[in-house]
Symmetry: C2
Subunit: 223 residues, 2 copies
């Protein structure tokens, strides 16, 4: 397997990432091809599709051994599920699968054509192994039902973002940040209202606290 491209996103670490693709569609990423695959012809016809699959490598989650069970954060981190019943990064082959919106094909100054996508749940710099069109006929299964993952689908928190802190965020980055925060980036339902969490976003460090269903941004700092 060979890296064919890398995605550039505003999230430098795992903390803060949306928990699945498509949850925060405002979050944009740019897929830049490796020199060998910088061939405009390889993208011919791609703009006919509204959505794409990214198949990528959990490059930061590699382990030498495998465990048959994992503890999904969405179940509170205290319940073990079979690894093949989860989308956990800790699996025999470190392959990730994400459905993103294709926003456009962009001409870059020196990296050839790149794909602008929305809704990726990928860290900045994640290696991409394949890109496939989303085929509604084969991939969209409205009859599908989704075990434990579905139960938590509607969960979100109210975001309290003081105006003076919001001003420190570039305007084009605000909507996505608010949507990210509304997903509650805390790990595994930790519940200490005094604790301050932080994550990197678009060159900033974003710090917040959560009490009940309210998330309050307490600091925005340049990094």
């Amino acid at each position: 397997m060979e890296m064919i491209a890398k995605i550039h996103t505003d999230l430098p670490t795992k903390f803060g990432l949306p928990r699945q693709s498509g949850l925060v569609e405002e979050l944009e990423g740019l897929v830049v091809f490796e020199p060998k695959y910088r061939e405009p012809e390889a993208l011919r016809g791609i703009e006919g599709f509204s959505h794409l699959w990214l198949i990528w490598e959990f490059s930061e989650a590699k382990r030498d051994s495998w465990s048959p069970t994992v503890r999904p954060p969405r179940l509170g981190g205290n319940k073990r599920m079979g690894v093949f019943a989860t989308r956990s990064p800790f699996r025999p082959n470190p392959i990730g699968l994400s459905c993103v919106k294709l926003l456009g094909v962009e001409k870059t100054a020196d990296q050839g054509l790149a794909l602008r996508v929305g809704g990726a749940d990928l860290m900045d710099g994640t290696p991409i192994l394949d890109i496939k069109p989303y085929l509604p006929l084969a991939d969209c299964r409205p009859e599908a039902t989704g075990g434990f993952a579905a139960e938590k689908a509607g969960y979100s928190v109210k975001v309290d973002f003081p105006a003076e802190l919001l001003e420190k965020v570039p305007e084009s980055k605000r909507t996505a940040l608010k949507a990210l925060l509304a997903q509650d980036p805390r790990p595994a339902y930790q519940n200490d209202p005094e604790r301050v969490y932080g994550f990197g976003y678009a060159g900033l460090e974003v710090r917040f606290r959560v009490s009940g269903d309210r998330l309050e941004v307490v600091e925005i700092e340049e990094t």
Copy 2:
């Protein structure tokens, strides 16, 4: 990347395969884990999901070089599209992606737990690299639109299957075979009504002819 399982299906070769997963849901397959991954715990909770993703290897379509364009059979085989705008097997990394229905977890006599699935578009013996639950929230995108692949979605032919030939097919294999044939397995819209095509299915060789929108089965032979 390591093979974690193999799928057993009734189709020994590429010819005759459905063109995407889910098109022929009656087609059943059995995913049998490699000895190292025969761990019942790894499947805990999987029955809560109606559909799964299989990520697999195009083991019969490996090439040393890559081509930026391919000719999708559904476009008649005479129009070139960018490889990343297609689901062609001939791509930089030989990774396939299929959505299948989970019919059940089965206890085998000597190969541990196996997954019974419906609608796979995979050859018998295809190596599986990963299995993930289908998460409706992230994976089902009813708003997605699908370029050239969508245009051909409704295409099928009427199947004329003489009773004396149908009798040669085990009863449990008939429905799926008829559904497979209705998809018109001919390559690239070849259009010679005299030509007889054949493919292997469940230990049989199935031979047919197509004229206009009618497919006629002309022979069923044990192989």
